[in-house]
């Protein structure tokens, strides 16, 4: 499964890079999200995959009695996911405003117009 996920990381990164190299703003945003997903899986992989064993202590035990998934990458990713929502939301609205103001979706045309925003 690791190999599949490694492949998936590569694919998500490729897709993300390809999308942010486009001239369309929406694609830029989608590319960001792809990159974020790829990075999350990358971090997840670093914590050694453990199938079905959440890092939660069972029942009345006070210590782990069984194998458990690495909690640190999970905590990192959880933070990353929530933050990426904030980023995406902000970027979408920014994009919307830029589109409203300039009437263009072409990133290339932004550096030509000297806008009085």
């Amino acid at each position: 499964m690791e190999l599949l996920l490694v492949l998936l990381v590569g694919i998500l990164y490729s897709a993300g890079i390809y999308l942010i190299l486009r001239r369309s703003m929406v694609k830029l945003l989608l590319g960001f999200m792809m990159l974020g997903n790829g990075a999350n899986i990358l971090i997840f992989l670093m914590g050694e995959l453990t199938k079905g064993k959440a890092p939660i202590i069972n029942g009345d035990n006070i210590h782990f009695t069984d194998a458990y998934a690495d909690p640190v990458p999970q905590a990192l990713i959880l933070t990353a996911i929530v933050i990426s929502f904030g980023l995406t939301a902000f970027a979408i609205i920014l994009l919307k405003k830029v589109h409203e103001t300039t009437g263009t979706d072409d990133l290339d045309s932004l550096n030509i117009q000297d806008l009085d925003i």
Binding site: M1, E2, V6, L8, V9, G10, I11, Y13, S14, A15, I17, Y18, L19, I20, L21, R22, M25, V26, L30, M33, M34, N37, L42, L45, M46, E48, T50, K51, A54, P55, I56, I57, I62, F64, Y68, A69, D70, P71, V72, Q74, A75, I77, L78, I81, V82, F85, L87, T88, A89, I92, I93, K97, H99, D105, D106, L107, D108, L110, N111, I112
Partner: protein, 768 residues
């Protein structure tokens, strides 16, 4: 001493506020400022004139780095300090009349005062770093002075040139100071005197002196950096008189003289100085007689004189150092007078073209006397101080250790002096004698403030020429001792009997007069030198600068073209190149299949769905499909999290993915449709970049999997989750307890995003 310098700076800035008072006739009182400094410096004569003692002031600035505001006054500092303040007094007086009624006079005086303070700092600093700071301050303040007529384009250009060249030298001075400091572990110049051998034996010796020379040569307008000086003549004449004859350009010479006892006396030292000084003095002298503009003549003869001083330091014998000390003084006296006279003539007749000036004796009798004295001193006629200097210069050439070489040296000196004599006559004699041209209209008579300074300078030239012993006893001996490192008596005298140097002096005067008559009436003389303009260093450097600018422009256009995606592409390609190279060159690539788990069919299905969704997201022409496909990718990842023991992640990913998709859908109809900008070539290129990046990341991930992960932190959290935090879900406990502070910051970040969105949308609403 330091207090004095800082006081000068404060006053310099203070003058800026005195716009009104400066325009009154009491402005001449401002020359009391340099005059009081002059008097104060005179009081040091008693302590240092024996050449053995010096006055030290120590004050700490950054003691941990060895950078202190130390000052030291010995003969050398004092000679320059007296020139700076003494000629400064005359220049101030002169300038108040020369620029009378100028709306920016207060600004001019302010720059001049700051410059004077910086100059005094240069010659009294006893710390390499402090010296560098004052050195740069002189460059900067002179930039403002040269560009004072800032509405003229030429003026601005020459100010920039001067700043570029002298500023470049400043960097070398700093590098010099740092290297010397690193070798000797001190920045204090007087401490370096005892470490002379350490520096000379150091493998960096050549580097050190080359850096020092570059600093000195740029400042002192030595070949091939000389060209900024004629350009700097765009400055108002008092500035030229002050900066470009007597003080700033001599700072380079001062620097060389200051380090002569520390670094001098070696083969490399003398060779470089002799060659550069020799070229500069002959080149400058030869060029000077071809000019018609009085300031042009003076600029080139000043370059020549500076070359001569460097040349004498290159000879480096005791007598040469004496000659250098005397010539610094003699040159400052007559050259400043020349400049001031030029200014008066220019002011009165609005021309500086010597071919158009004749018979001014009738209009300016007193000025003629001063001019003639200066001309005679520059020619080295007995009873002027210039004569004493010229004798010593020839003596030092004749007594060089190597006889064969000494003939060459004397030849060069002779050539230089002949042409300097000629150019001196062109300035000091030519405009004043002969039949006056009829239609002169003297626009305004010069007042005493203009006439007095050159006359005073002429008086000192004669006084010291007749009684050289005064100069010797008071200052020259001390100056010499500071450069030589030991006291050697060699009294100056007018008459040494008939000897070779006297004969040479005589021949110089005769030939110089011949040169003068040869060039006096030659109107087209400029054409001769203009033919060689193409290979003049100025044009070569200007050419290089222009090419460099073009290169920078093209370079910038390639890498900084304003297109976001090309920046990204460049960054990514560089990343791929660098990391990829490092990875394949240094890391032994291997795949550890032992610890890897198998995958089940349902996992493969999830994987395949993800891949298909990614392909859809890239390829589709519909925004809705792209957004939906991105959502599908997110849900698949959510499943992967759930499979591998991360229910928290799964839940969060699911919720976030849902919300993001909703968000997209809410604004989708406000978002632009995808552009149809299909350019298959670019798409192909980007695909290559993207795929190589993906492959690189995959390889890095694989390699990272091979190396065992450090589980200490995870284990610590897992073992203490209940005992320390009374929780059982490690992920949540990390978030709210172990790393709670991070979570709090994250909350703030989210709030900022929400505020950003809110204000962006509401801002528009309010506008409507």
């Amino acid at each position: 001493m330091l207090t004095l310098i800082f006081l000068t700076f404060v006053l310099g800035f203070g003058i800026l506020l005195l716009k009104k008072p400066v325009q009154t006739k009491f402005v001449a009182l401002i020359s009391l400022l340099p005059f009081s400094i002059f008097l104060y410096l005179l009081s040091f004569l008693r302590s240092v004139k024996d050449g053995v003692n010096s006055v030290l002031y120590r004050s700490e600035w950054i003691p941990s780095l060895g950078i202190n505001l130390d000052s030291k006054i010995d003969g050398l500092s004092l000679l320059f300090g007296l020139l700076i303040s003494g000629i400064g007094t005359l220049v101030y007086l002169y300038a108040t009349s020369y620029l009378r009624g100028h709306p920016l006079l207060h600004r001019f005086l302010s720059y001049l005062t700051i410059f004077m303070g910086a100059m005094l700092g240069v010659v009294t600093s006893d710390n390499l770093i402090t010296l560098f700071i004052f050195w740069e301050l002189t460059s900067i303040s002179s930039f403002f002075l040269i560009g004072f007529n800032n509405e003229q384009e030429e003026s601005r250009a020459s100010a920039l040139w001067a700043l570029a060249i002298t500023g470049l030298g400043g960097f070398f001075l700093l590098s010099f100071g740092v290297i010397v400091g690193a070798i000797t572990s001190t920045y204090t110049i007087s401490d370096l005197l005892t470490q002379s051998d350490v520096l000379k034996d150091s493998p960096f010796y050549l580097l050190i002196i080359v850096f020092l020379f570059l600093a000195a040569f740029t400042k002192s307008a030595q070949f091939p950096f000389h060209f900024w000086l004629p350009g700097a003549m765009k400055a108002p004449t008092p500035v030229s008189a002050y900066l470009h004859s007597a003080t700033m350009v001599k700072a380079g010479v001062y620097l060389l003289a200051r380090f002569t006892p520390i670094l001098g006396g070696t083969m490399e030292w003398s060779t470089i100085l002799l060659v550069v000084g020799g070229i500069t003095m002959t080149y400058g002298a030869f060029h000077s007689v071809f000019r018609k503009d009085m300031k042009g003549i003076l600029a080139y003869s000043t370059i020549s004189a500076l070359g001569l001083l460097v040349f004498l330091l290159g000879i480096g014998t005791e007598i040469a150092l004496y000659a250098m000390a005397v010539f610094v003084l003699a040159h400052a006296l007559y050259k400043a007078a020349f400049f001031l006279i030029t200014g008066i003539v220019d002011h009165a007749l609005h021309t500086r073209d010597i071919t158009k000036l004749r018979g001014l004796k009738k209009y300016f009798p007193l000025l003629t006397v001063a001019a003639v004295i200066a001309a005679l001193s520059s020619a080295g006629i007995p009873l002027t101080f210039g004569f004493i200097g010229k004798e010593l210069i020839y003596e030092s050439g004749l007594h060089y250790i190597d006889y064969n070489l000494s003939l060459v040296l004397v030849g060069a000196l002779f050539f230089t002096n002949v042409f300097l004599t000629g150019s001196g006559f062109l300035i000091g004699i030519k405009p004043f004698f002969g039949t006056p041209i009829k239609d002169y209209c003297i626009s305004h008579k010069p007042d005493w403030r203009l006439i007095a300074p050159p006359v005073v300078l002429g008086f000192f030239t004669l006084l010291l020429g007749i009684l050289p012993v005064i100069a010797y006893k008071e200052i020259i001996l001390a100056t010499f001792s500071a450069m030589n490192g030991a006291v050697v008596e060699m009294p100056l005298a007018i008459w040494h009997g008939v000897n070779t140097s006297l004969l040479l002096s005589g021949a110089t005067i005769v030939l110089g007069t011949a040169v003068y008559f040869g060039f006096k009436c030659w109107n087209s003389s400029m054409n001769v030198v203009e033919r060689f303009e193409g290979i003049a260093p100025k044009n070569i450097i200007a050419f290089i600068v222009e090419k460099f600018r073009q290169l920078a422009f093209r370079y910038t256009w390639v890498f900084h073209n304003g297109y976001l995606r090309s920046y990204l592409a460049v960054i990514i390609v560089f990343f791929i190149g660098l990391v990829g190279y490092k990875l394949f060159a240094d890391v032994p690539l291997s795949v550890n299949t032992v610890g890897l788990s198998e995958f089940r069919t349902y996992e493969l299905v999830v994987f395949l769905i993800t891949v298909v969704a990614v392909v859809f997201a890239i390829n589709t022409a519909s925004r809705l499909t792209a957004i939906a496909a991105t959502g599908v990718v997110g849900y698949c990842i959510c499943l992967i999290f759930v499979f591998y023991g991360a229910p928290d992640l799964g839940m969060t990913q699911f919720a976030i993915d849902t919300l993001t998709t909703v968000l997209f859908l809410l604004v989708m109809f406000k978002l632009p449709a995808f552009l149809k900008l299909g350019n298959s070539k670019i798409q192909f290129r980007d695909a290559i970049i993207a795929i190589s990046f993906g492959i690189l990341i995959s390889i890095i991930t694989l390699q990272a999997l091979v190396s065992p992960a450090d589980k200490d932190i995870s284990r610590y959290y897992a073992e203490n989750v209940y005992t320390l935090a009374k929780g059982k879900n490690v992920v949540n406990v990390i978030l709210v307890d172990f790393r709670g502070f991070d979570t709090m910051i994250e909350g703030i970040v989210l709030s900022i995003a929400a505020l950003g969105v809110f204000s962006m949308l509401k801002y528009k609403d309010d506008e409507e």
